[in-house]
C-alpha cells in the first residue's frame, strides 16, 4: 500500500488530510509536526510521497525539502509543498528546494486527491 507523510504544524490541516485520505483513498498516512520530524520520519517510514507545509517551527518545509533532496535515502521521494504562502518568492524558493509540486491553501480537496493519484495511482 502507498504511504504518504503529511507534515504540518496545524492540527486542523493534519486532521482534514487524514479524514479525506482515509475516506477517499487506500493510502497509509503518517504525520509529522515540523520539518525536523519530517526528515526523521521520512528516513524511517520511507513514504511514497511527502505533503508538507512551509512555515513550521524548528525547521521549515523549505529547509526540510532541501535536506531530503540531499540525502540518498530520501532524494527520490516526491515532495509536494502545501502552504498558505502564495507569494512568487516562496513559490520560486519552493521549487528551488527541490519540491515536485507547489500548492497553496486553502486547497481544493478534489484537486489535491487527483494530484496524489497522479503520483501514486489509485
Amino acid at each position: 500500500m502507498r504511504k504518504i507523510l503529511v507534515v504540518d504544524d496545524s492540527y486542523t490541516a493534519r486532521l482534514v488530510n487524514r479524514m479525506i485520505f482515509s475516506q477517499k483513498t487506500n493510502y497509509v498516512l503518517v504525520s509529522a509536526v515540523d520539518g525536523k520530524e519530517a526528515v526523521e520520519r521520512a528516513k524511517h517510514e520511507k513514504p511514497d510521497l511527502i505533503l508538507m507545509d512551509i512555515i513550521m517551527p524548528r525547521m521549515t518545509g523549505l529547509e526540510a525539502c532541501r535536506v531530503l533532496k540531499k540525502d540518498k535515502e530520501t532524494e527520490k521521494i516526491p515532495v509536494i509543498l502545501l502552504t498558505t504562502r502564495g507569494e512568487e518568492q516562496y513559490v520560486q524558493e519552493g521549487y528551488a528546494s527541490g519540491c515536485s509540486d507547489y500548492l497553496t491553501k486553502p486547497v481544493n480537496d478534489a484537486e489535491l486527491l487527483d494530484l496524489l493519484k497522479a503520483y501514486l495511482g489509485e
Binding site: 475516506q23 502564495g86 486553502p106
Partner: protein, 210 residues
C-alpha cells in the same frame, strides 16, 4: 395486458424502438451526453458537500482540542487560515451597555486603531444592529470606517442570544479572491461554536485566576 398466460407468448410483443432516421440517433447521443453531464454535476455537488462536512468535522475537533489546551484563539486562527484563507484576524469583545468593541486578540493585523472603539456606522455597527454576520461581498457598504477598509467579514459571536463579540476577518490570502460557498458555511459554524468555545475559555480563565 402484456402476457396472455396461456403459453402462447405475449399478446403484445415487446418491441425495441429504433430511431426513425439519422437525426433521431444524433439527438439520442446528445441526450445521453446531457444526462452524463448532469450526473457528473450532481456527483460533484455531493462530493463538495462531503468535503465541506469533513472540514466542519475537523474545525469542530480542533475547537474541542482547544478547550483542553486553552488555545481557543489559536484554534480559530488555524481554522480560518487553513480552511478559509486569511491570516489577518482579530477577535473583539462587545459591550452592549456602552456599544463598545475592545480588542481581545489579533493575528497579522495592525491593531493601533483597533484597541477600543465605539460601534460607529460601518460593518461592525451593522453586524450589531442586525444581529447577523456581515460579508463585504454580499452586503457592500458605503460608510466603512477607516479601520474597516480591508475588512472581508464580520462574524458575530452570540452568547445566550446576546452579541458577545465579533471575529473580524480582514485581508484574504493573495491566492484567495473571495469567499466561497463552503467558506460561508464554515463561518456560520464559527458564529455559534467559536462563541461557545470562547465563553468556555473565559470561564476557565476566571476559575483558574488567583
Amino acid at each position: 395486458m402484456i402476457g396472455t398466460g396461456d403459453g402462447n407468448g405475449p399478446s403484445i410483443k415487446a418491441r425495441r424502438i429504433e430511431p426513425a432516421d439519422g437525426n433521431s440517433s444524433m439527438f439520442s447521443r446528445t441526450d445521453e451526453l446531457h444526462l452524463r453531464v448532469q450526473r457528473l454535476s450532481l456527483r460533484e455537488q455531493i462530493e463538495r458537500n462531503h468535503f465541506l462536512l469533513v472540514r466542519l468535522n475537523a474545525a469542530s475537533a480542533r475547537l474541542i482540542e482547544a478547550l483542553d489546551h486553552g488555545d481557543v484563539f489559536d484554534a480559530i486562527a488555524e481554522i480560518i487560515a487553513n480552511l478559509i484563507g486569511s491570516e489577518e484576524i482579530a477577535v473583539f469583545d462587545y459591550c452592549p451597555a456602552n456599544q463598545n468593541f475592545s480588542l481581545a486578540w489579533s493575528w497579522g493585523v495592525e491593531t493601533d486603531a483597533l484597541q477600543s472603539f465605539l460601534c460607529g456606522a460601518g460593518m461592525f455597527n451593522r453586524a450589531v444592529q442586525q444581529g447577523a454576520s456581515q460579508f463585504r461581498d454580499r452586503q457592500p457598504i458605503a460608510t466603512l470606517l477607516p479601520y474597516e477598509k480591508n475588512l472581508t467579514a464580520c462574524i458575530i459571536l452570540k452568547s445566550s442570544r446576546e452579541i458577545a463579540g465579533v471575529i473580524a476577518i480582514f485581508g484574504l490570502l493573495p491566492q484567495k479572491n473571495n469567499l466561497e460557498w463552503a467558506d460561508y458555511e464554515l463561518l456560520k459554524f464559527l458564529e455559534t461554536y467559536a462563541a461557545v468555545a470562547l465563553q468556555f475559555h473565559r470561564l476557565q480563565t476566571k476559575q483558574t485566576a488567583p
